[in-house]
Amino acid sequence: MPPLLPIDLLLIAVAAWLLIGLAGLAAPGNLRYISKRLFPLGALVGLALGATALNFLGSGPQVAVLAIGLPDLPFHLRLDNLTAVFALLLGFASAGISVYAAGYFRKGQGTAPGLLCLEYHFFLASMLMVLMADDAYAFMVAWESMALSSFFLVTTDHKHAEIRSAGYLYLLIAHVGAIAILLSFGVMTSGTGDYSFANMREQHLSPFWASSAYLLALLGFGAKAGLVPVHVWLPEAHPAAPSPVSALMSGVMLKTAIYGLMRVSFDLLGSQPLWWWGVVAMAVGLVTALFGVLYSTVQSDMKRLLAYSSIENIGLLAVGIGLALLFRSYKMPVLAALALTAVLYHCLAHAGFKSLLFLCTGSVLHATKERSLGKLGGLIHPMPWVAWLALVGVIASTGLPPLSGFVSEWLLLQAFLFSPGLPHSWLNMVVPVSAAVVALVAALAGFAMVKFFGIIFLGQAREEALKDAHDAGPWERVGLVWLAGLSLALGVLPSTIISLIDAATRQLLGTGLADRMKENGWWMLAPISPERASYQPLIFLAVITASLLLGRQLVRRLYHGRVRRSPAWDCGYVFQGPRAQDTAEGFSQPIRRIFETLFRMQSHIPTIRDERPYYSVKVEDHFWHWLYLPLARLVTAFSHLVARLQGGRIAIYLLYSFVTLIFLLLVARP
């Protein structure tokens, strides 16, 4: 028997997940069997997958052909470094999420546990297939299977109409996106009819067709990733899904779209992108990021807040991809590598912290049955595990040192910083300003995350029942700790990780950062040179920790450690009940006010004459009103027109037939 190649191991992982899923159908009602046996098993598969991918990184590509698929186009599979990076992400993130899920799913949540298990593992397997696919058909099959299984997962709790409509919107946009992707593949074959990726790589498209393919891919993958304006499904679907599923969707599935975009724009579309591709991606990314973060600050549903935050992060990723394309088109490979590394790193980082945060909301949801920020508060007391681990996620997602989010944002900003070398004066001026927008986005993300954490976990409990909330169970804790650990590791070991993912960068761009970085040692992140820019998270962390501990010790030694408890001072203000705290809406009031025009708000402000004064504010999406509703109206109008054809009168029907015949007789000529 020949030794098992990594690609075989990946295929075994796919099969294992499918089998685990099917095993769930053996006893669909047996919750214990499914959650305590199958889900941990799935987590193990994830771990093994991550390890395999990690081990593979740096090797040459491997291909395989399965005997299934279309007669002329069997499933082509390929494992290269780009795939491996994302498989690594999938494996490690899903390991944590699956372990968490083992403790999460309870009885009586709509779909039977066995079915849920099937859908869940099918989802995982299809994501892995997306990463491995090396022809358009296999890709589309995996891609749509992924959409389908996640759709079923989203609608797990389908007795609520809003969850159903969220699922509907999700699948619809996913389908439209898939159509765009298919078209893009079609363009890339440039009429050869061979839909394998290998063939697409060999095609030399004219700029027009290459651009069409690129834009279609941007639309298609953007629809999955949640780029504006095809983002509307995301804030609906993520809250609707059970938390582990939200975590998977946000942490991993969105990345498959990024993967696809990278695959198309760096790999399949040949080596020479046009400069404006990068600008388009950057513009879309900036708009998305700003949009996402602004809307995330004004949400009052915790999962929606996170969903919008995912949109923001996807926007940042698109910015990075755009930047890399820009550098690449101007033949600046090192800078392109820098931007691309930032993208890959951010993918990993986001997978870690966003999954973590979504899982935390899951625990909160379980403990309190409440998603609305207005009814939470003070949960750090009953749920310390969740709260402190959520804090890790919050800091990481805010892009603050020393955790994972900072490294990627740092790399991205570094890439921006060197853009003024571009041989294009307009870009030279505009691109740095875009960096300021990125900074604004990062700072606003901080705002949103402070809101998220502060309102949920800090302050006084806004409802009586919250005091009885229970902390996460052991399984859930393991999952959370794993993901928090990933965030920490990504935060403090950037050089090590970059030297791993560098293989993907090198594969796509021909050059990487690792060689330069090796000279500086593993503790220092200095992508270009230490004189130019450097970051040593370990020292960073050590200094802060040392001064923290030292300060604490010194104060205790020199003075004392006495503490007295008393009611809060609050400037002597008497009414200190939980209602006196800021609400979620109140917290975001400055944002709503400053960026008023960017929101579509319907607010009611009480007057002194109101018998029953109340305050309400509803923030809606401009895109929904200006893009989607008109589109829906257009379709409705059209279908109204078409429906008139079927007027019920037989004479008219005969007339159609008659006129068709006469028309053809008179007009049709070969």
Partner: protein, 483 residues
Amino acid sequence: MDLFTLMLAIPLISGLLLTVVGERAWAPNLNIIASLGTFLASALLTYEIVATGPRMAFGEQFFIDSLNVFLVTLTAFVGLTTSIFSGPYMRNEYEHGRLSVPRLRLYKSMFQLFMFTMLVALTTNNLGILWVTMEAATLTTVLLVSLYRTAASLEAAWKYFILCGVGIAQALFGTILLYFAAERVLGESGNSLLWTHLVQVKGQLEPTIMVLSFIFLLVGYGTKVGLAPLHNWLPDAHAEGPTPVSAVLSGLLLNVALYAILRCKVLADGAIPDNFAGNLMMGFGLLTLATAAFALSRQKDIKRMFAYSSIEHMGIITFAFGMGGPVANFAGLLHMTMHSLTKSAIFFAVGHATQKAGTQLIEDIRGLIRINPVIGWGLMLGTLAILGMPPFGVFASEFMILTNAMKYYAWATPILLVSLGVAFAAIFGKVQPMVFGETHARPLPHAPAITPVFVHLALVLMLGLYIPPYLTNWFHQAAKMMG
């Protein structure tokens, strides 16, 4: 008696027999057994044909080649599953008081006769006989459509009869013209309507006549296929007839009508230059697709909606065959198969669903997955399959059609894609709340025969991931034959 005769004889004889004994308690079983026999005969016949190649029967009046043999198997198969499905379904209808015993008898005998006409239409070599059996198919099903004798079903049956009758009359005119063209080449032998002979001389047929002939044939048989704007009978007939009838209308009749067009197209292509027939079919296909897609979103009746979906898919298939070429023909054949299997599965599921809910109105059917998860999932998966979601086979064929269109007829792709998108939005938006959500429906007296649904869907799923080589060869041969 050879297999071929057996295959034709079983439905004919059992159909006649059932008119006599159709009221007995065991009649539904006879129906199933007859269908099973037909299916077995056709399967064996297929095996034989695959092993030995095309053959003739009854002189040259019948012939079986790679194009029709798979349709024969498909027809017999869907006939079998439909008969299995209709057993409990019809018993439920009877116990709900919607049907009387004589009408059940009528249903069973007409069902078998309809199968007979379908099989003859598929295997006949004589274009005249083809016409006769197409007309006979209308006649056998028109009484089935009005089986409930309600105002709506009568109206539907009347429209069905008149529109298809007129359509088929035009097809006859086309056939006459074809005969006329053929006679000029083949002389006044009796062979001038035999397709095998015609195809030998298709290059010599007079183009002027063939143009007219093909227009008449296309408009005529196209009415039966449901091409827009000739489709208006189709939603009514599907919605108002009993569900098994809807299933066979969608799954078989439309296919056979399209098959008739295909046979004629092969001849027209030989005679008329510039892909005239293909362009015409592509035009009709796109128009049909777009019309159906936009009509979908306004449907309130579930069966009516899926009838429109059938129209939509007929549009796609017509377009595919219009494009021509090995890939598109292959895809068209595949899509025909997929559509038959999937759509009949959907109608089975819908049948049970409507019976459970006691209504066909979409907004009154809710939470199927709660009443009966099997029906709910059947409908959900069937719907997703018909919408072209991988890994179901419909996607495979749509993928090939789309990619082929992109390659040769890029202008058509936007229409295709927009229509598919709109259709997706419409159908899925309506089916999802039916399957999901809460409900208060009561259980049925007889357990549904749900196996056919899943057998069909399993086949569709399998074909989406893996098309066995012999099937591929077979489709390839057929596609090559169509040129």
